[in-house]
Each structure stands twice: as structure tokens, then as C-alpha cells.
């Protein structure tokens, strides 16, 4: 058994920092100018049916990454929580020309696998394969996207396991706390939807509901494909045009209003989730964040790096390194199309619940009370610049960026001007960003733990709403 050592790796980033003035002089103060990393050249074409196609050649390894995204995320679930996610997986249940076993076998035989998924804002398909196998796999991908049949027997089988998995997931507080948090913060707005649904709504899914969702939402005109890897762009373009041009849907497109209307939080409240056999309290603290379209995203990330985005961040330094309360503490802005959240997250033994929460809040408040100084800001700027290029090293991560670009309207300048945007930050600007975007009052808390032992502690932080983890839903 391998033990990952030092810190939790979440979303590929380390969390945490704090800088004593005493040590400040030891930090190298210069702001580095690292070799600028630029987005490699790519081409974008829109087919007559509206499908956007991004092509980027990358020939260092003889493989190809294929990423498709559909404007069909869980915010479109309506009352049918989990529908987008189930529909994404059901794409692989069978098509006009292949049954499920054939789809799995073909991809596996060529050393590959086909993955589908849903997020709140979109759903997608991703695969990676050797360039020599392109001709064998592309027609299957096309069929999965454009000709799924949603066979009832496969749906029934998967539903049964899906429901059992929802129970199983609650064995791991870490795995489900984010779902409780979104539900608590966004309540009944679409961003409160649990992406994988709840037992009651999954039970109601059938071939008909999936087919309607598919026809209304997975359509050429609101989808994009990004292909990155070892191929010739012209050939790939004509191949994809040939395959996907006949993707036409005649069912009227549904226009959703899934915008999130932010209402101010009037008071602090605590969502206490009881898990009888818990020996730890897993918790999140936060409030609203910013949508993806926010122009200050990069600056916000730099500040969050200082608070809870790397190993030496304030939160990790206080809660892990100084106090030994936890294996890791972090903070994060999660941004969506029209909404966003901010949270601090960590866990500690039941007996340390109160001092750990107090210390997390105290550490967070340093942002408002003391703000950021020059040395800390420089260190964080160097850190985010230095760690940036590996995020775009592989064909898969580049395909991911291109499809994100489509969904969120990101500009290439996000990558190409990243360094300039970071370098341009000043201490004054940083402290403005804190005031503007980091939620200060009426913080919201989610605690998963043994309620009998922490109920009184929870009351200290706000109005307590209690729920048992074994109850269906979040």
C-alpha cells in the first residue's frame, strides 16, 4: 500500500500558506520572468449544423485525445436530479450499430476506454487512443454521440447499481460533503442540484426521460469537439465533417433559464449532517464566489493560493503544520457559468472539532484584518506562474482547455497573458480583491460528523439545521 505523503492533492493543486516576518528575509524577493508559456496553434471550424470543432496538432507522442462537450449539464435536470449524469453514461449503453459490450470491447481492445460524464454546467465525452487506431474508433464515437438507443434493459441494470452507489458514497464524508454544501448554499436554484441525483429521482428515470433529455439538449448547435494529438488537421477536419454533418435534431430546442439569482445571505447557518459511526468531523465554511465570466479570476486565484491554495498557505500552515489538527486544509473558489461558491475545507478528529473550526475562521479573518503584504504576494505570484505550464502539458489537458473555452467563452489570453495578469498585481490591488470577492459575513457551515458530540459546538456558529446522512438526498 502506498501512502501519499505530505498533503492532499485536490484538483491537481496543493493547498496552503502563512509567512512569518521572521522568515521573510530568507525568501528570494525577485519576481521571476519564467519562459512564457503559450497556447499551441489550433484551428476552429463550425460545421453547417452548428457543431464547433477545434483541432490542435501535437506530435511528440503518437496518441490522440478526443473531448466532446454538450450544453447538457445538471443545471438542466429540473426536478429530475441526476438525469444529465445518467444520460451521459447512457450514451454508452448501445447505439444504432453497436451494443454496450461491443463499445466497451472495441475501446479496450485498442488499449483505450471511453468516458462520459456530467458536471453542473455541461456534460461530455472523453477518450484517448493511439493514432493508428483512429479509423476504427472514430465511427464508434460518432455513433455514441449521434445515434444512442438507450435500451431499457441496460437502463434498469445501471439504475439498480447507481442507487446502491449513492448509499455507498455516503460512507466517505469527503466524497459527499461538496454536494451537501452546494445544496445548502444554492438551495433550490439549479446550482444546488446534486449532479449524480438522489435515490428517489434516479428511480424515476427511464428510456423515455433520457431520450427527451438527449434530444432537447445534446445537439450539434450547442456542442463542441476538440481533438488534440498526432494527426494531420486537414485530414481530420474532412473526416469529422463527413462523420458529424448529418447530426441533425428536429425536436425543438428547449431554452432554459438556469441563471442563478444571487440573494444576500442574511445570517450564518450550520448544516449538521449526522453520521453515527464518524470519528472525524469533515467541514466546509464559506459563501458565494464568482461566476466563470469574472474578469478578476486570475487575481482571485493568486489570493486564494495564499489563503488555502498551496502547502504553505495560511490555512494549511495553521491547521496542519502548527496545530497538527488535520492532514490538510485548503480553500477554493468553484466557478460556474452564472454562479460560484467559495469554501474552506478540512477535517479533524471529533474532539478537535471546535478548536479546528475556530482556527480556520481566525486564519481566514486575517485576510480582512491584516491583508496581504509584498513578500507574500510575490511568493504566490511566482508559485502560480511556475506551476502553470504543467497544467497544459498533455494532449488531454489541451483538449480539455479547448472545450472549456467553448463552454465558458474563455479567451486564449487566459493562457497567453496569464503571466502578465499575475505580474500586474499589486498589494493594493490584492487587498481590493479581498474586499470585493471573499465573503466576510454570514458564513455558511456544513459539518459531517457525530451529531451527538458536536451539536452544541455547531450552535456557536449559527442557526443549526440537522439531517441524518442516511436520509435520501442532500
Amino acid at each position: 500500500m502506498k501512502k501519499d505523503g505530505r498533503c492532499l492533492m485536490v484538483d491537481g493543486k496543493w493547498r496552503n500558506q502563512f509567512l512569518l516576518n521572521l522568515f521573510a528575509i530568507l525568501i528570494i524577493l525577485s519576481s521571476f520572468s519564467f519562459a512564457q508559456f503559450k497556447l499551441p496553434k489550433y484551428e476552429v471550424v463550425t460545421l453547417d449544423n452548428g457543431l464547433a470543432v477545434y483541432l490542435m496538432e501535437k506530435k511528440d507522442v503518437p496518441i490522440i485525445s478526443f473531448s466532446a462537450v454538450f450544453d447538457a449539464g445538471a443545471i438542466k435536470d429540473g426536478a429530475q436530479n441526476g438525469l444529465a449524469s445518467f444520460a451521459a453514461e447512457a450514451l454508452k449503453f448501445g447505439t444504432k450499430n453497436y451494443n454496450k459490450t461491443q463499445i466497451d470491447s472495441i475501446f479496450n481492445f485498442y488499449g483505450s476506454s471511453l468516458n462520459t460524464y456530467a458536471r453542473l454546467d455541461y456534460s461530455g465525452l472523453y477518450t484517448q487512443f493511439m493514432k493508428d487506431d483512429l479509423e476504427k474508433l472514430l465511427p464508434v464515437i460518432k455513433d455514441v454521440i449521434t445515434n444512442p438507443t438507450f435500451p431499457e434493459d441496460e437502463i434498469v441494470k445501471r439504475k439498480q447499481r447507481w442507487i446502491a452507489e449513492l448509499d455507498q458514497a455516503k460512507e466517505s464524508p469527503r466524497q459527499v460533503i461538496g454536494v451537501y454544501y452546494n445544496k445548502f448554499l444554492f438551495a433550490d436554484s439549479p446550482y444546488g442540484n446534486p449532479v449524480d441525483g438522489i435515490k428517489k429521482t434516479i428511480e424515476q428515470i427511464d428510456g423515455k426521460t433520457i431520450t427527451s433529455f438527449y434530444l432537447e439538449n445534446l445537439r450539434a448547435e450547442n456542442s463542441a469537439i476538440a481533438v488534440v494529438g498526432d494527426f494531420d488537421s486537414n485530414k481530420m477536419k474532412s473526416e469529422l465533417t463527413k462523420l458529424f454533418s448529418d447530426w441533425q435534431v428536429t425536436v425543438p430546442r428547449l431554452i432554459y433559464d438556469s441563471r442563478f439569482i444571487k440573494q444576500d445571505l442574511k445570517e450564518s447557518s450550520v448544516y449538521l449532517i449526522n453520521k453515527d459511526n464518524a470519528t472525524e468531523t469533515t467541514f466546509m465554511i464559506g459563501g458565494f464566489g464568482v461566476p466563470m465570466s469574472n474578469q478578476d479570476q486570475i487575481q482571485i486565484d493568486v489570493i486564494n493560493t495564499i489563503l488555502g491554495g498551496r502547502f504553505t498557505s495560511w490555512l494549511n500552515d495553521e491547521l496542519r503544520v502548527n496545530a497538527g489538527y488535520t492532514y490538510g486544509a485548503r480553500s477554493r473558489f468553484a466557478s460556474y457559468k452564472t454562479a460560484g461558491s467559495f469554501y474552506i475545507s478540512t477535517f479533524t478528529s471529533t474532539k478537535n472539532t471546535e478548536p479546528a473550526i475556530d482556527l480556520a475562521i481566525k486564519t481566514y479573518n486575517r485576510l480582512f484584518e491584516k491583508g496581504i503584504d509584498e513578500v507574500t504576494l510575490k511568493s504566490a505570484k511566482n508559485y502560480v506562474k511556475g506551476q502553470f505550464p504543467p497544467g497544459y502539458e498533455t494532449s488531454g489537458s489541451l483538449a480539455g482547455f479547448l472545450t472549456q473555452k467553448y463552454i465558458y467563452g474563455l479567451e486564449d489570453s487566459y493562457i497567453n497573458d496569464f503571466e502578465n495578469a499575475v505580474d500586474g498585481m499589486t498589494v493594493e490591488g490584492a487587498n481590493e480583491i479581498i474586499k470585493k470577492y471573499f465573503p466576510k459575513d454570514n458564513l455558511q457551515f456544513v459539518l459531517i460528523g457525530k451529531a451527538d458530540d458536536i451539536r452544541e459546538i455547531a450552535k456557536k456558529y449559527g442557526k443549526v439545521i440537522e439531517k441524518n446522512i442516511s436520509e435520501d438526498g442532500f
Binding site: 522568515f23 528570494i28 507522442v61 511556475g386 506551476q387 504543467p390
Partner: protein
């Protein structure tokens, strides 16, 4: 529970862009061996330090100390005191992590290549002059206890894993978990740590791999400047304990409230690089890689008996275990799940595998190799892993021939040879024990 199976390497010499000759190596006077792979695809580089020490080098009373030591390597040396290693590294655009296994401890630094000299300075300081601040030891003890309990809290399989391993081995030090037993974590001392440092953290017990936007000559100069002066240590005493042959099936039960039962089965098998290694490794892929694999296709998809099922064959210096594990579907008993896994094993022993399955797993290994070569991290980790577990990093390039030699018959034979009742340990975790 995420394992990176780095052994999935094949046919590189025929297809891969990276060749064995692209990897350069040199050894310093103190015995430290370094590998360098130049790759300028991004303006970054990494350094991987593979120390030949893991929980197999421990004994009862200090279990988990290899992993604890790994944490302490970040807590201060001579030039850079407590907290400064991370602060200086991050202020220079770098980040780091480390992992400990039964066999090795690996430290990793990722950084913009312009900061390479700072990395050498930081690493040389801690390799030569690690310091143990009593205050840091105590807070780190809390961190490890939290790491241990959060693993058990969030994953019933981890608890089952620990106790099955502890039951399957009676003599060899693979019997305790890498994280250690709780009472040992609470009681090890500063002296234990100092002894460990002097015994295992010598430059001649370490292999360094550097990949990325660097030049061999520059790396050589920096290595000579920063690492060569660190004195060599005595060769650590080898682990000589040999696990006696298991003489009958062992069974264990763990009571824990769960929605459905968990199962783990192990068989004793030989170590990495042994004669049967390649056949066992391919067998592992046939059993559990992808949705068309034997176990997933039969137990999860066709029979709906499991929510999750898998197998695992770890890299190891000494004879190790081949693992099967599964989480039962709602309403399925542990006995049903156990029987279904054993039925799949028996099918392979009786009927073997077909040629297309064999070709499939060879393709999967090739694809996995390409994924590895896509990143400078994948390359560094794989070079080091092969050098340590297979005795020569070049084995990752000759692996195609070793895999090619494996026949369907070989796979059937290793299944029959090792997957016997006598050689088996079965662990079940459930709310209630059902007789």
C-alpha cells in the same frame, strides 16, 4: 487507494519516441546515481529522489516510521530551518510532494527550470543536515494520526486492506501498513528518527531522476557542486526475512457498519522482475483493466453482484501478494461475491485466456506507456521505478520482449500455480457476520 501501475510498459523500442539512449546517467563519487532526460516541451523540470527504504525496513515498535520520516524531511535542516524548505521552494515557483511504500520512499520537486539551482540547494541541505525539532515532531505526529484516521474513516477498504495484509504475512515486514500502527505512531522517538536517517538517508542509497527543460552538463555541474560533498553511508543491512509458505487458507472478519459487504482476497506471489512477473502482470490486466475485463464484465455488469471489483499486483522487492477486492451490490452476500470471484479465477485456471485477450492487454500496456511519456513526471517516475524494482532503467525499453514472450498458456499456468486455496487469505468486512 489509487495506484499508478508503472509496470505497464511495452514495445517501446518499436513505437516510442523516447529511446533508452535519450536517458543519460552518471554516478557521483559518493555513490549517488543520477539520471537526466532532456525535454523542453514546457519550460519546467522535476527532480525525483528514490530512497531504497520503506516500511519493509521497519520492525515492531517503529512501524510507520518510514512514512513519518518522509514527513520530517520537510521540517527543517541546517541552512533552511523549519518551514523554510516549502517557503523557499514555493517562492521560487516550485512545489513538492512525496510518497512512501513498503519498498521505497520517493520525494518529488516540480519547478520552472530557471529555478533548478535553488532546488539543488534545498535538497542538498536536507540530505546532508536534516534536523529534528522536537516541536515539529509533535505537530507532525498529529498530522500523521489525522492522515491515518481519515483514510480509515473515508474508506472501509483501507481498513480491510490493512488487516488482510496483516493476516496473510506472519514473518515478513510486509505485514504492517505503511502508515504504521496507531500506538507506534504515538510512541516513536527523536532517537528512532535519527537512527533511521543515518541508516538509510545516504546518497549511495538514493537514485535521482531529473527530467524537463534542463541540460545534462548543467545538471552534472550542479550535482557535483551540491551533492558530491555529502558523505556516503554504510550499506544498510538487507531485509533477510523470508515469508514461509502458507500452509492453508486463512480467513478474517471485520465488523463495521456498511451498506453492503466488502471482500479482499490475497495470494502469495513472487516479486517484481521474477520469472513469473510478466505473466502475472498481464493476468492482472486481464482480470481488471477496463469494462471488458473478466472481473468487471462478469461481476459488475453481467451478474450485477458487485458495485466495484478489482485486482492489484504491486511492485515489490520481496515476494508479495496478488490482491482481489470487491464491494458487494445491494442485497448480495459476501459469500456470493467470494464465490463469483473464485469462479472467474477457476475459469482462467481451467480454460485459460484467448489470443484476442492477450493482444488486448498488450495494447493496453503500450497505450499506458505512451501516457507515461506524455509528461516529464511520468518519465521521471518510470525511470526511477524500473531502476529500483527491475535493477536497470533500460528494462522499461526491453519490456516488450519480456511481454512478447508470454503466451496464453503461461498465464493459465501462473493462475494455477499461485491461485490455490492453500495460498489464499480471505477478508470480509460487514455490519454483521453471517455464518
Amino acid at each position: 487507494m489509487k495506484y499508478i501501475l508503472i509496470s505497464l510498459i511495452s514495445v517501446v523500442s518499436l513505437f516510442g519516441q523516447v529511446k533508452a539512449d535519450d536517458v543519460k546517467s552518471f554516478t557521483l563519487k559518493n555513490g549517488m546515481k543520477l539520471f537526466v532526460l532532456e525535454d523542453s516541451s514546457i519550460p519546467n523540470a522535476n527532480m525525483y529522489f528514490f530512497y531504497k527504504v520503506g516500511s519493509r525496513n521497519e520492525y515492531i515498535g517503529i512501524t510507520g516510521i518510514s512514512h513519518f520520516f518522509e514527513h520530517m524531511m520537510f521540517n527543517g535542516a541546517k541552512k533552511y530551518g523549519p518551514k523554510e524548505f516549502d517557503r523557499v521552494m514555493e517562492a521560487n515557483g516550485g512545489s513538492n510532494n512525496a510518497y512512501t511504500s513498503e519498498n521505497i520512499t520517493v520525494y518529488t520537486d516540480w519547478f520552472p527550470s530557471s529555478s533548478i539551482e535553488v532546488m539543488f540547494d534545498l535538497e542538498a541541505d536536507r540530505i546532508a543536515h536534516l534536523n529534528f525539532d522536537p516541536k515539529m515532531i509533535e505537530s507532525e505526529r498529529g498530522v500523521i494520526l489525522s492522515e491515518r484516521s481519515t483514510g480509515l474513516e473515508n474508506n472501509p477498504l483501507e481498513q480491510l486492506w490493512q488487516e488482510t495484509q496483516a493476516t496473510a504475512f506472519i514473518a515478513h515486514s510486509y505485514q504492517w501498513p505503511v502508515i504504521g500502527w496507531e500506538s507506534d505512531i504515538k510512541n516513536w522517538t527523536k532517537e528512532d528518527l535519527e537512527n533511521y536517517f543515518h541508516t538509510y538517508y545516504a546518497p549511495n542509497n538514493c537514485v535521482v531522476v531529473i527530467s524537463g527543460d534542463v541540460k545534462l552538463d548543467e545538471v552534472k555541474k550542479l550535482a557535483e557542486k551540491y551533492f558530491e560533498q555529502i558523505p556516503a553511508g554504510q550499506k544498510p543491512r538487507p531485509v533477510h526475512t523470508i515469508e514461509p509458505e502458507q500452509s492453508g487458507e486463512k480467513r478474517l472478519f471485520i465488523k463495521r457498519e456498511v451498506p453492503s459487504p466488502y471482500i479482499m482476497m490475497t495470494y502469495h506471489v513472487p516479486q517484481s522482475g521474477s520469472e513469473d512477473y510478466y505473466a502475472l502482470d498481464l493476468l492482472n490486466s486481464i482480470l481488471s483493466e477496463g469494462e471488458s475485463s473478466r472481473l468487471y464484465n462478469s461481476l459488475v455488469y453481467n451478474q450485477q453482484l458487485a458495485l466495484e471489483v478489482g485486482s492489484y499486483y504491486p511492485e515489490a522487492f520481496d515476494p508479495t501478494l496478488f490482491y482481489f477486492y470487491g464491494v458487494a451490490n445491494d442485497g448480495v452476500t459476501a459469500a456470493q461475491l467470494e464465490k463469483a470471484i473464485l469462479d472467474e479465477v477457476d475459469k482462467i485456471i481451467k480454460d485459460g485466456i484467448n489470443e484476442s485477450e492477450l493482444q488486448k492487454v498488450k495494447n493496453q500496456k503500450l497505450m499506458s506507456f505512451y501516457r507515461t511519456t506524455e509528461t516529464i513526471n511520468g518519465m521521471s517516475n518510470t525511470i526511477g521505478t524500473y531502476e529500483l524494482f527491475f535493477g536497470d532503467y533500460k528494462k522499461m525499453f526491453s519490456a516488450p520482449d519480456d511481454y512478447k514472450k508470454v503466451t496464453a498458456e503461461d498465464i493459465k499456468n501462473v493462475a494455477a500455480k499461485y491461485f490455490t486455496k492453500q495460498n489464499r487469505t480471505v477478508g470480509i468486512l460487514n455490519t454483521e457476520e453471517i455464518q
